[in-house]
Amino acid sequence: MMQAFIDSLWATARGLPVTLAIWLAAVVAGMALGFLVGALRFFAPRLVSWPLAALVETVRGVPFLVQCFLLYFGGPFVGIDLSPVMAGFVALSVYGAAYFSEVFRAGFNAVPPGQLEAARLLGLSRPATVWRIMLPVMALGVLPALANLAVILIKETAVLSIITVPELTFRVQGVGTSTFAFAETTLVLALVYWGLVEATAMLARATERRIERALAA
């Protein structure tokens, strides 16, 4: 029984870096893509923003697991043949981007219109208004939601084990399969995720407070 715990910890040491790497990459890519989509949905004409809205609703309405299956097992049939890690990264990025885009769009919407009228009357160009007024004004408002989403995406990475991405869940469950000590391995797995999520959430809150202070000063 002790052996199962030691094996689980060893598997954690191997799987955790993969989980963290995919998560970080997907958060960065998802946030960038989400910002682009959110901005397009706010600024672009309907011809662009409506199809994007439909796309976002679709990604948000289908289970992440099914999207992973579609990309990983269905992809090769349409010429998209990705490794498990790449498929996991792409799927998680797209899934995250859909949610991130909604946060950014809400942020754009929340900028008081009067502040934009003031900018327009003073002659600020459209890009200057977005960059100098809208982004800073919305930044504080969207920060907690962005951090929250990033934390949620950590938990979604566990699903990637099902398409054989060698991340935390996959590695630790692998120990279970070979030793039949599923109770021990699953317990370790739960505790590691719990700690990881709480630690990340704490870090996010600390960062938020710091940014808030910097912006309020």
């Binding site: 008081p112 009067g114 502040q115 009228e117 003031a118 900018a119 327009r120 009357l121 003073l122 002659g123 600020l124 160009s125 200057a128 100098r132 007024i133 800073p136 004004v137 930044a139 504080l140 912006l215 309020a216």
Partner: protein, 243 residues
């Protein structure tokens, strides 16, 4: 040539006519007070002059030229101040000087400080809007508009969002500007202020100019019955509040 010339201005939203044929000529240095019941189109008139709201028919010209928002011809001070919350008072004033007038940072800051000094806020230039009172915020907004040196300055109920004890500081600034020869249009419910400030008062009702003339004429027994009725309800409301 008049500083501001409004000709046959119409504006409608859906089937509702907000403005129905406004004509207004303003000479340089004039201070026009615009009064009227709520919904009469006062704010719409200012927003159309500023180019913020589209006009259905008619024209607006400043010194003979058509305007568009951001060309610097028209400045506007809003009821809700609309300061940018992430920037200090100085940065609020300096931003357009740098990005639109393309002034170097140092010069933009110096001009911003001068404009803030003009509204009596030189000491608070480093504060963000949240750390300023409503009256101070509105004065920063005035400085922000002034610094761009517009030909015509529009005030849209500049004290309506303020607590009564904070209105004086804002009204004093506007009075000083008028005395200095700034061409301005002021929409306000502060009748005493309008009477003392304006070279000419325009009374709007249902999107039309009912009467326009010197304050002594509008605020008198000789005014149109509609104006007298408006002023009467206005006075009785004030009296009621005081009682």
């Amino acid at each position: 040539m008049s500083a501001l010339s409004v000709r046959g201005l119409h504006r409608s939203v859906g089937a509702t006519q907000i403005l129905r044929g406004i004509d207004l000529d303003v000479t340089a240095g004039e201070a026009i007070g615009i009064i009227g019941p709520s919904g009469s189109g006062k704010s719409s008139l200012l927003r159309c002059i500023a180019g913020l709201d589209p006009i259905a028919a008619g024209s607006v010209a400043v010194e003979g030229r058509a305007t568009r928002p951001g060309d610097g011809a028209v400045g506007m001070v809003f009821q809700q101040f609309n300061l940018w919350p992430h920037l200090t008072a100085r940065q609020n004033v300096a931003l357009a000087l740098r990005l639109v007038r393309k002034l170097p940072v140092r010069e933009a800051d110096a001009r911003a400080e001068a404009a803030l000094a003009q509204v009596g806020l030189a000491a608070l230039a480093a504060r963000k809007p949240a750390a300023l009172s409503g009256g101070q915020q509105q004065r920063v907004a005035i400085a922000r508009t002034l610094a761009m040196e517009p030909r015509v300055l529009l005030f849209d109920e500049p004290t309506a969002a303020l607590d009564p004890e904070l209105t004086t500081e804002v009204l004093d600034v506007i009075r000083a500007l008028a005395a200095g020869g700034t061409t301005m249009l002021v929409v306000s419910h502060e009748m005493g202020f309008v009477a003392g400030l304006a070279t000419r008062v325009v009374f709007l009702d249902h999107g039309q100019v009912v009467q326009s003339g010197p304050p002594a004429e509008i605020f008198s027994q000789r005014a149109e019955p509609r104006i007298q009725a408006f002023l009467q309800t206005y006075l009785s409301r004030v009296a009621w509040v005081q009682a």
